[in-house]
Symmetry: C2
C-alpha cells in the first residue's frame, strides 16, 4: 500500500516536472523573471505583495498568480492595489500549486507586458517544496513572530529556496526573536541562502526588498 | 492518473480511520482526554505546550506526543519544562501525523498515569485536517500576527476543530488585527467553534486556557 502510494506520487511529480520545464521555457522566452513565494500561512506573503504592487507594480510591470485552497481573498486584496493582472487559482483543497495550474493561469496574463511575475503559493511550509512551478527561484518568507528554528524544522523548503525574507521586523522589540540565530539556523540548512529583511507596515521597511527586485529585473533585462 | 491517485489516497485514509478508532478506544478506556493541536508553523503550539506543561503538567497529569517533519526540536523544548513524558515522532518529510504514528508513540507512554494528552501535529493548516488521530477534539491555533481571514482560507481545518485558540494576544497593540472580524470569519465556517484567547508571554495570559483545561479534565474524570 505504501509502496503503491509512493509510485503514483513519483509519476505525478515527474509529470509536474515536465510541465514546469515548459512553463520555465515560456517565461524565459518572454523575458519574465518569476519568483515562487512560499511560507506558512500568516507569514505575510499577501501583505508583501500588496505593498510591492502598490509601489513597484507599474515600474517593474508586475503580474501575480495567487493560489488559495478555497477562497479568492488574496486575489481580491491584491487587485485593490493595482490595475495589473492578478490571476487567482483555487486548488480546491490541495495543499500546494502545481505546474499545470500555473500554465493555465499564464494563459490569462499578457506576458509581453510583464517583466516580473510572482507566484503566491498556498500557505504551507512542507508540500510546495516538492512542486516545481517553472519559477526562476523560490523565495521563502518567515516572520519574527515565529520560532527561529523554522529552517531546521522545515529544511526541504529552505534548501530549495534561493532567497529568504524575514518579515514583520517592526515587531522585533515585542517578541523574543534572535535574528542572528534565525539566519545561522537557515544557513545551516542552506549556506547559499540570501536574506532580505522587511517590515511591510513601515514606510521604510520595504526599501531593501525593492532595491533587490529592481536589481534582479534589470539583470534579467540585460541578459 | 489523477483518478488513480485519489483511489489510493481514499484507501490510505480509510485504513487511517480504522487505526484512529482503535487509538480512540484505547485512550477512552484509559480515561485520557486527548487534544490534537493543529496550526500553521509559527502560530505558537510549542510555546503554548511549554507553558501548559510547566504550570499544569503535574496537576493534570499531562503527556505529549509531538510531531515534526525532521527535527526533535519541539520535543527537546518541551522536555526542559517537565519530567512528564514527551514522545517525539519524526514524520520524515510527511506533512501531517497519522494514526499509526500516534499508536506507536502511545506504547511509550504510561496511560494509567496520564489524564490529559496533547498531540502536537506538524505545522500545517491543510493536510492534518484529513487525518483522524483518535483525539477527542482538534484544537486549532492561529495568532493575531496572521490575517483575520485564515478560517475562510483554510476552512476544512476550522470545520474539523471544536476549539480555536487565538494566540499572541499581547501583540494586538502592534498589529492591524481585528479580533471580532477573525471570530466572525471562523464562526462563518464553523458556528460551533469555541474560542479561547492566550498570550503565552504574559503571566496572566494563560488563565482562560488553564481554566478550560481544568474543567474539561474534571468533566472527563467524572464521566
Amino acid at each position: 500500500m505504501a509502496v503503491r502510494t509512493i509510485e503514483v506520487r513519483e509519476r505525478v511529480l515527474a509529470r509536474n516536472d515536465e510541465l514546469a520545464a515548459q512553463v520555465r521555457r515560456r517565461l524565459g522566452e518572454a523575458g519574465v523573471l518569476t519568483y515562487n513565494l512560499v511560507s506558512s500561512p500568516g507569514s505575510g506573503k499577501t501583505m508583501l505583495l500588496e505593498r510591492t504592487l502598490a509601489d513597484l507594480g507599474e515600474e517593474l510591470a508586475v503580474a501575480v498568480v495567487t493560489g488559495d485552497v478555497q477562497t479568492q481573498n488574496d486575489a481580491d486584496r491584491l487587485a485593490r492595489h493595482t490595475d495589473r493582472l492578478v490571476q487567482a487559482v483555487v486548488t480546491n483543497g490541495a495543499c500546494h500549486l502545481d505546474a499545470r495550474q500555473v500554465a493555465t493561469a499564464l494563459d490569462a496574463i499578457d506576458l509581453d507586458r510583464t517583466r516580473l511575475l510572482f507566484i503566491e503559493n498556498v500557505g504551507n511550509l512542507v508540500c510546495p517544496a516538492s512542486w516545481d512551478l517553472g519559477e526562476d527561484a523560490k523565495v521563502v518568507l518567515f516572520s519574527v513572530t515565529e520560532g527561529e528554528d523554522k529552517p531546521a524544522k522545515y529544511p526541504k523548503m529552505f534548501e530549495k529556496a534561493r532567497y529568504a525574507v524575514l518579515s514583520k521586523m517592526d515587531l522585533l522589540p515585542h517578541v523574543p526573536f534572535d535574528v542572528d540565530r534565525a539566519v545561522a539556523c537557515a544557513r545551516g540548512v542552506n549556506p547559499d541562502l540570501e536574506f532580505l529583511f522587511t517590515s511591510a507596515l513601515q514606510p521604510e521597511g520595504m526599501q531593501e526588498w525593492y532595491a533587490f527586485l529592481r536589481a534582479q529585473v534589470r539583470r534579467r533585462s540585460a541578459a
